[in-house]
């Protein structure tokens, strides 16, 4: 039946084609139009993030680049805000900040989460018990509290983390790559990364538990390989796919998380050209809701939605392609355990 055939279309059981690579890619693209759309969104944002310096007509933090609260026009395609900053420039720079936060959070989170998850799953017993209790407790915290508490602890002026970052790493506390408040951004990424790690640990532990019965592991242990070696050489490669998948799920969540806490006013300092800050900024919101200056909130929000949309669409398609059984949202189940 036609329906059955449709179901089997992308099954890995379909006979391999001898078509040239580009034709295969094209077919893949046609079969997953949403994935292509997603990829396009992401490329657009990434391009903006990387080439922000070149693209932006004005310094995103500059005041009085034109008339204040000016509607979108040729000079200012996204209009200006109450201080005369160009919304287009701020939105493009917001992409850079968003991608930075997303990438750093996910890298930190997946690294820490994998380490804990693998160790927990591999060693089992007491270690597992303790780590799991800890992870469960942290997961039971409402996300807001967890993030706020972490930011308050590590973001404090005298905190060990901040001093370490300031003194021992080349990361500057001021502007870097045109991004203001660079250190604050890193700190927030660390906090979000920590929250991600907690969720990831649980998922990865589950995967490792099922792997443990694997013959390789027993053999390696019999041969006297050290635990560390086994974990790195045998366990890690097997969960690598899961780690990547989780990473793609968490990236948009990390970006949304920063936007949410900045919206609440407890994230990045006001005035930073991040999407969340601009959307949450009280004056911007007053202007948008009460005085008809809709563009100061609309465009950052649109950009944020595009990024998250892009990652979700792309991630969905990836999963469709790589494992048809997961088609359509099974993976999102675990992601929802963490988000807002």
């Amino acid at each position: 039946m036609a329906k059955e055939a449709a179901l089997e279309l992308d099954s890995p059981l379909a006979p391999p084609s001898d078509a040239p690579r580009w034709l295969k890619m094209l077919r893949l693209a046609r079969a997953h139009p949403l994935g292509v759309l997603g990829l396009f969104c992401i490329l657009l944002i990434t391009f903006s993030a990387i080439f922000a310096d070149v693209i932006v007509p004005y310094d995103p933090e500059a005041l009085q680049t034109g008339a204040i609260k000016e509607a979108p026009s040729l000079d200012h395609p996204f209009g200006t805000d109450r201080l005369g900053s160009d919304v287009f420039s701020r939105t493009i720079f917001g992409a850079r900040i968003a991608m930075l936060i997303g990438v750093v959070s996910v890298v930190v989170g997946m690294a820490l989460g994998s380490a804990v998850g693998i160790a927990s799953g591999y060693f089992g017993g007491f270690v597992d018990s303790v780590l799991q209790r800890l992870v469960d407790s942290l997961l039971a915290f409402p996300a807001i509290v967890l993030l706020l508490a972490i930011i308050a602890v590590i973001g404090n002026d005298d905190s060990a983390v901040r001093s370490f970052l300031n003194d021992s790493t080349p990361l500057p506390s001021g502007k870097w790559l045109g991004i203001p408040n660079f250190l604050d951004i890193i700190i927030i990424s660390l906090a979000i990364g920590f929250a991600i790690a907690v969720a990831a640990a649980r998922v990865i532990r589950g995967a490792v538990l099922s792997l443990k019965e694997n013959v390789y592991i027993e053999a390696a242990q019999a041969m006297g390989a050290s635990d560390l070696r086994i974990m790195v050489r045998h366990v890690l490669p097997n969960v690598a796919g899961l780690i990547v998948v989780l990473g793609t799920i968490f990236l948009p969540i990390a970006i949304l998380a920063e936007a949410a806490i900045s919206f609440l006013g407890v994230g990045l300092p006001a005035g930073t050209p991040s999407w969340g800050s601009d959307m949450g900024n009280l004056s911007n919101r007053d202007d948008a809701i009460g005085r008809g200056i809709w563009w100061v909130v609309f465009f950052p929000g649109l950009a944020l939605s595009l990024v998250v949309l892009g990652f979700n669409l792309l991630g969905d398609s990836f999963r469709d392609i790589s494992d048809p059984r997961l088609r359509g949202g099974g993976g999102s189940g675990s992601a929802s355990r963490t988000g807002f």
């Binding site: 329906k3 807001i144 404090n156 809701i289 969905d316």
Partner: protein, 331 residues
């Protein structure tokens, strides 16, 4: 199964203790206390000390935690115990000693209604497109359904909330009634006004979950429809509708139900943004304000409650999963 349930329930205790103690320790360490916020710019060390003594913040971690929990006596003779174990969740530092239970009695119904309505909307908005998408894969309808569901998932809900307020007040001359009265009227008092108050916040909150439900419905239906017995039913010539509704849907709902359970747990703390924009006094807002205000005992109590709800819901979800799918057995 019973021993599994008992074991999980027993685990609640160390988790809740750990959670509340970590909260206590964290908030004692981080800079700034409720005392600082009360005296503000007029603070001096002396005033701060006096206030902190009043709040018990000058006691050791363990003593203050113990008093809150109800295992350490409040007075010096060792007679009066009043803490969580006795049903007293403590008092606010910032709101003239308002008891947590008192404010909870006001915020809990708001949050509960918000959750309930969000879930209803999510199910109503999520399942039909998911089913449609599954029975017509690859079609335009499928594409649209999947795109819109991901779109809902991607647009931040606080953004939608602002849009609702902006459009409502500027274009339609309408805002929820609680903006004018300051309180969200109960459902049984005035159902119409109540629904007017909760309709949009719940809708906005529900969209993300609806998207997840839609995708999950779609995938599990696809899964189920592939099963042999479904094909057998097809080959027997049963009408498509019978096949879909009677066999596939019922079985496909299993993972969907579990997802609903998980989402509820998240919603509680995650509704902060919506509550703030829609001026609803729910538990999310209560928690946020208390965290910013360093209202220690309140934060501890709320975190304890949230942890409890979260763990219990997870347990219920896991159990119902096992109950619904006989293949799963917990030892």
């Amino acid at each position: 199964m019973r021993s599994y349930i008992i074991r999980r329930l027993l685990l609640l205790i160390p988790i809740m203790l750990l959670v509340s103690f970590m909260t206590h320790a964290t908030f004692r360490i981080i800079p700034g206390s409720a005392a600082h916020l009360i005296c503000g710019i007029g603070c001096t060390d002396e005033v701060v000390e006096d206030l902190e003594a009043q709040f018990g913040l000058d006691e050791s971690f363990f003593r203050q935690y113990g008093e809150w929990l109800g295992v350490w006596p409040d007075d010096d003779e060792g007679n009066k115990f009043s803490g969580v174990l006795q049903g007293d969740f403590g008092e606010s530092f910032l709101n003239s000693g308002q008891s947590v239970t008192d404010r909870l009695s006001r915020t809990l119904p708001v949050t509960a209604e918000l959750m309930l309505l969000s879930l209803i909307f999510a199910v109503v908005l999520g399942i039909p497109p998911g089913v449609l998408s599954a029975i017509r894969p690859g079609s335009l309808a499928d594409l649209i359904a999947r795109l819109t569901s991901v779109a809902w998932l991607s647009v931040p809900n606080f953004y939608l909330a602002i849009l609702v307020i902006a459009f409502g007040s500027n274009w339609f001359g309408w805002l929820p009634p609680n903006f004018g009265t300051g309180k969200a009227v109960g459902f049984f008092e005035n159902p119409i006004q109540n629904l007017e108050t909760f309709f949009f916040p719940s809708l906005v909150l529900s969209l993300g979950i609806a998207a997840v439900i839609m995708r999950l419905t779609r995938s599990s239906m696809l899964e189920v429809m592939r099963n042999d017995y479904v094909r057998t039913a097809w080959s027997k010539g049963l009408r498509e509708r019978t096949v879909v509704w009677r066999h596939a849907l019922k079985n496909a709902m299993i993972p969907v139900l579990t997802i609903i359970g998980v989402q509820v747990g998240l919603l509680i703390g995650g509704s902060v943004l919506i509550e703030s924009v829609f001026a609803l006094n729910g538990m999310g807002n209560y928690l946020l304000v208390s965290v910013i205000g360093r209202d220690l005992l309140v934060v501890q109590s709320l975190v304890l409650i949230f942890a409890f709800v979260f763990v219990v819901i997870n347990l219920v979800v896991d159990i119902s999963y096992a109950w619904l799918d006989p293949r799963i057995r917990y030892g």
